[in-house]
Symmetry: C2
Subunit: 212 residues, 2 copies
DNA sequence: AAGTCACATGACTCAGAGGTCACATGCCGA
DNA sequence: TCGGCATGTGACCTCTGAGTCATGTGACTT
């Protein structure tokens, strides 16, 4: 938790610090992010930074909390009643809301990617120790339900498929970011295409790439 | 290229240095790998290290070259005549030879993982600048051939599928390593299971996880 | 025995990291 | 006007990184 001083700051200043820190962590990852660069970017003194936060970990955790908070706003209504929809509809909704989030908060989505990419890193293990297991448990529940309903083949290796689905999540975002990078960061233009790709992608998970 | 001095070294010493460096890069990645730790581990002076290599990049590139060399030995005969087999057989062969390699050279496979994980890192861009494009081109060729033969649905987004297949490659290895980690590094025991998983996995790519 | 040459060595430089601290500034109530 | 207290500041600390260099060593030549 940041120190009280940080929360007493004028909103604008606080926002600038957070934004600068987000950008730093997004582009360099946790280990290579530099407090010096953050304070320079946010135009505050190093000493001030340490009046706001206990240490590097502290900012990072705070940002993660803020991000998680923000991400909640994007969770589609579909995902709030998982029992009412079939597995692939849920998956599609998850991807779509994820991409919506990424489109509107590209920096934050980049951090999300870093987190997934380095989910074995001690700091992430620490922050998401229960979160990860809970996520897997939720996924597992969904898969079992889908199998019971006959939506998914019963012969799949559940832990393996969970891992794959997680990874594909990252892969899709990476693809998305690479696309917009190649496109001179012109996001709005490519967005609809990517959204279409999601549908194709869900179809791929469902039916494979082989001919029927 | 390492300096001549390095190649004049007795085989044993050279091997020790290489092994130590491999292990360092495998566990810490390029940025966080420490020359100090390498020289300590290999029991040579820092100065000696710089008599062998120009700089950090130099060792790394050398190791990559050695690894690529070694990996060639594992390429299955199936993959050497890609025209003679259907796409999924090729994919299966690729995964199997990859896992064979990982089983017998776990440290090196870990580096391979690092490379894939950080394929956007400047050093990897530099090392594999043509290699990556060539790989993608090869994949693309295979996919087009497979589509022409009617093995793969013609409506797939080729670049996207290439990206996905690449990512899944890493995902499989990560899963493999996580499994053996949980199993106290007892590899031989789990190996056959993992090989079975590959078959299931290929099937998943071909037919998806949905019910037919 | 003297000289040469390849290799070995670790103390050193400089840069940048995260984090600290003595002091400056400015606002607010008395 | 003054004291007190929250906030701001940047020089400074220690640590570790990559990379350098003057010097040492030992084998082989002449």
């Amino acid at each position: 938790m940041p120190k009280e001083t940080f929360f007493n700051l004028p909103d604008e200043k606080r926002a600038l610090i957070e934004a600068t820190a987000v950008s730093e962590f997004a582009t360099h990852g946790y280990d290579n992010a530099s407090i010096n660069r953050i304070v320079a970017g946010a135009k505050i003194a190093k000493g001030s930074f340490y009046q706001y936060f206990h240490d590097k970990k502290d900012v990072y955790k705070h940002l993660m909390a803020r991000i998680a908070e923000k991400k909640l706003d994007y969770i589609s209504p579909v995902l709030q009643n998982p029992g009412d929809y079939d597995f692939f509809t849920l998956l599609q909704a998850a991807y779509r809301s994820g991409l919506d989030f990424a489109r509107e908060n590209p920096q934050i989505a980049l951090i999300g990617n870093q987190v997934f990419k380095h989910r074995d890193h001690p700091i992430h293990q620490e922050i998401f120790k229960e979160g990860q297991d809970a996520g897997k448990a939720f996924y597992e529940q969904l898969l079992r339900l889908a199998i019971a309903r006959g939506e998914i083949r019963p012969d799949i290796d559940i832990p393996f498929v969970i891992h794959i689905l997680n990874t594909l999540n990252v892969a899709t975002f990476e693809y998305y970011f690479e696309s917009i990078k190649g496109n001179d960061f012109n996001m709005t233009e490519i967005d609809d295409d990517v959204m279409d790709t999601v549908d194709l992608f869900i179809d791929f998970i469902k039916n494979g790439i082989g001919t029927p």
